[in-house]
């Protein structure tokens, strides 16, 4: 890492209010943005790792977070308006706080949209999803869904082992037999440790009936 890059990173990092979007002229934004990306590229430990917190959003994916924020804001405001407060409640009722948070969420969504539109003209930034690999994520999520669905039927031992195996597979483990043995022993160790040592009963599933 060059001394140059490090110094500038500090200059850029020492002020929490400093923003890569939000307020400020495009020039100031650029002055902040460049050192950050430069340091990241030069860092050896995390080779070529993108730093999402300092990435300026670009492309269609840039609208995902503003959209989600706006939806959340609308839900909050809708909830605040439709809330059924008991008649004897004192003035700032149960709807006041959700309403305030909802309006602030909508304002945040608008601000992020404005930043997006402004970046559209300046042509900088990167697609936030450039490095995103969907397959392992879907595998892990599938493993979690299956685990949740099966836990109380097949018991912790098998459901836990399956979850361990699937996640290990998603992260690139390919020694299937060894993975399975590790998965089963982890799951068994947890079940035994928690049941005997801590008195927490994990579901035994159908194995409980067999044994």
């Amino acid at each position: 890492m060059s001394a140059n890059g490090t110094d500038e990173k500090h200059a850029a990092g020492d002020d929490p209010s400093e923003t890569t979007d939000g307020s400020g002229s495009p020039e100031a934004t650029e002055a902040v943005e460049t050192p950050g990306t430069e340091t990241d590229a030069g860092s050896t430990a995390v080779a070529a790792a993108p730093d999402p917190e300092n990435t300026v959003w670009r492309g269609p994916a840039a609208w995902i977070v503003p959209a989600l924020t706006a939806i959340l804001g609308l839900v909050a405001v809708w909830g605040a308006v439709t809330i059924e407060a008991p008649p004897n409640v004192t003035p700032p009722g149960p709807g006041a706080f959700p309403g305030a948070v909802g309006v602030l969420l909508l304002i945040a969504a608008v601000c992020m949209s404005v930043v997006n539109l402004r970046n559209l003209g300046s042509g900088k930034g990167a697609s936030p999803l450039a490095w995103f690999e969907g397959r392992p994520v879907l595998l892990v999520l599938a493993g979690l869904v299956v685990h949740t669905a099966l836990l109380e039927f097949v018991g912790w031992l098998l459901a836990g082992a399956l979850l361990f195996w699937v996640v290990a597979y998603a992260f690139g483990a390919r020694a299937h037999l060894r993975d399975a043995i590790v998965a089963l022993s982890m799951s068994a160790a947890v079940q035994v440790g928690f049941s005997l040592g801590l008195g927490l009963n994990l579901p035994g599933g159908f194995l409980e009936l067999v044994l």
Partner: protein, 517 residues
């Protein structure tokens, strides 16, 4: 002088070989549970509560003290090594601690954390013992208006930990506040945002949010990163002991962190995370000032040891500080304290002013056992810090599979409910989206924890004054806190404007950075 004698009596009562074994076991179990990502000291104490049914109160409290401190240190270990803090109070440690680990200084980070924790808990316990009556009086002065000012202050302090865009940080905070609104409104009993589901009436448990956003969100994020993910195999654990330079840079942050933690710990509702973030921010500013004055480079942003030493001490001394309202008022101010309150009640003891009179010996034994627990922490974890650091040598697929397994376990263990696992999935996906788009997750966690407190105190204050908002600024304490809020908000703005001018000058001049000393 009385208190010292009492404390000595407590020590004498607690220092039996048998109790030392309990302390040892407690620290070991606490650390073991604490190093599991997503599980902190609260979880460790909760899981061990049934085990202590068969012990006498003294042994049980010594076990708890060991578990408490062990769990806190375990949380620091995962923050440093895996970037997955087990509890809100170790979030601040992740920023510099994990960067130190990535630079091959994991053992030094762990070393400064364990010594800092030791120093802080010894001093913190002594402070509690000596100033308990005074601090109780101070804490009693807080009305709803002051509590609300305190939460506003913490929201602003969040800005200090956001490294990138403030807008994204604020969005994250708001998302956290929104999550915290789910469930029955404590003031009016109205169900809010339950979408017709009975399981949402109780709200979304903080453990689910923590595990989902931090642990499982991280697993999904690393999975999405694929080849561009950080490579732990490259991390060397390095020399196990702190060098002279590390010590020289650590001892002042230890003391400053301890002071902050002791000051905030007894204030109900402030929790351990506020002093940790304040300490992190303060050490960062001090390092920058030192850089300007003496030219010694600030390492903040790439693994500064001060950024581990300060927050970790603050964390532990505030843990000791939470004993003040717990013992003095019967008011638990953290999740762990809430579980310890349950433990007290299990022995038929009701913490509060009466406890100091009726079971004074037990109170002093508990304080003494905190001392014993911190000594044990040092004895067990300083030599083994490099061993915990070896955790990173595990094959990556197994490491993340293990984290996933324990995340699911931690959430399932709350109430053995599959519904909680469904919530966990949803929160984990939210965590993945936030990480992917660079929306920091820490502010969201703070929002979830403090949002309900802020709302309750705000409405309680207005109810007390029958709608007159002037109650919010009616006392010196709240006015002082709002003044601090203004300072915290305005100072960075001034610094930003100054830098902007400097940059503008520099670009107008030659293309050369103007801030270089």
């Amino acid at each position: 002088m009385d208190t010292l004698i009492n404390l000595m009596d407590g020590l004498a009562a607690a220092l039996t070989p048998q109790n030392l074994v309990w302390a040892f076991l407690g620290v070991l179990l606490g650390t073991a549970v604490g190093v599991l990502p997503g599980m902190g000291s609260a979880m460790a104490v909760a899981l061990l509560l049934p085990v202590t049914f068969r012990l006498d109160p003294t042994s049980a409290f010594i076990l708890f003290a060991g578990v408490y401190y062990g769990g806190m240190f375990g949380g620091a270990t995962t923050s440093i090594l895996l970037n997955t803090p087990g509890q809100a109070s170790s979030i601040a440690t992740t920023y510099e601690g994990h960067k130190m680990a990535l630079k091959g200084r994991a053992a030094q980070a762990l070393g400064t954390a364990v010594i800092g924790s030791f120093v802080a808990s010894i001093i913190g316990t002594l402070v509690v013992a000596l100033f308990a009556p005074v601090m109780v009086e101070f804490a009693l002065n807080f009305g709803p208006g002051e509590y609300f000012a305190l939460t506003v202050f913490s929201f602003v302090a969040v800005a200090a930990v956001v490294s990138g865009s403030v807008l994204r940080g604020v969005t994250s905070l708001l998302i956290g506040l929104a999550i915290g609104m789910v469930g029955i409104d404590a003031q009016s009993g109205t169900a809010r945002f339950d979408f017709g589901a009975a399981s949402l009436m109780d709200g979304i448990d903080i453990v689910i949010v923590t595990v989902g956003l931090l642990a499982l969100g991280e697993v999904l994020y690393i999975a999405a990163r694929g080849k561009s993910a950080p490579n732990f195999a490259a991390i060397r654990t390095g020399r196990p002991w702190l060098g002279r330079k590390d010590l020289r840079r650590s001892w002042k942050p230890w003391l400053r962190g301890t002071a902050l933690g002791s000051a905030f710990g007894p204030i109900p509702g402030s929790g351990a995370e506020i002093p940790t973030f304040l300490s992190l921010g303060m050490e960062r500013k001090l390092a920058e000032r030192r850089e300007r004055r003496t030219g010694e480079k600030s390492e903040f942003g790439e693994g500064a040891i001060e950024g581990v030493a300060g927050p970790e001490s603050a964390n532990n001394s505030s843990a000791a500080g939470t004993m003040v309202p717990l013992l003095g008022l019967g008011l638990p101010t953290s999740a762990t304290a809430a579980i310890m309150l349950a433990a007290f009640q299990q022995y038929g003891l009701q913490p509060g002013p009466v406890l100091f009179e009726r079971n004074a010996d037990l109170v002093w034994t508990l304080l003494a056992s905190l001392l014993i627990g911190s000594v044990m922490l040092l004895v067990i974890n300083l030599p083994f810090a490099p061993l915990w650091a070896k955790l990173l040598k595990l094959p990556k697929p197994y490491l993340y599979a293990g984290i996933t397994l324990f995340s699911v376990l931690a959430v399932y263990a709350i109430n053995t409910s599959v519904t909680h696992l469904v919530m966990l999935l949803a929160i984990a996906v939210l965590g993945l989206v936030m990480r992917t788009f660079g929306v920091p997750v820490a502010p969201a966690l703070i929002g979830v924890v403090l949002g309900p407190i802020a709302e309750t105190e705000f409405r309680r204050a207005l109810a007390a004054s029958s709608g007159d908002p002037s109650i919010l600024v009616s006392s010196g304490i709240s006015v002082g806190l709002y003044a601090l809020v203004l300072v915290a908000a305005v100072l960075p703005l001034i610094a930003y404007l100054r830098r902007r001018r400097a940059t503008a000058r520099a670009t107008a001049d030659v293309k050369e950075p103007a801030e270089r000393p």
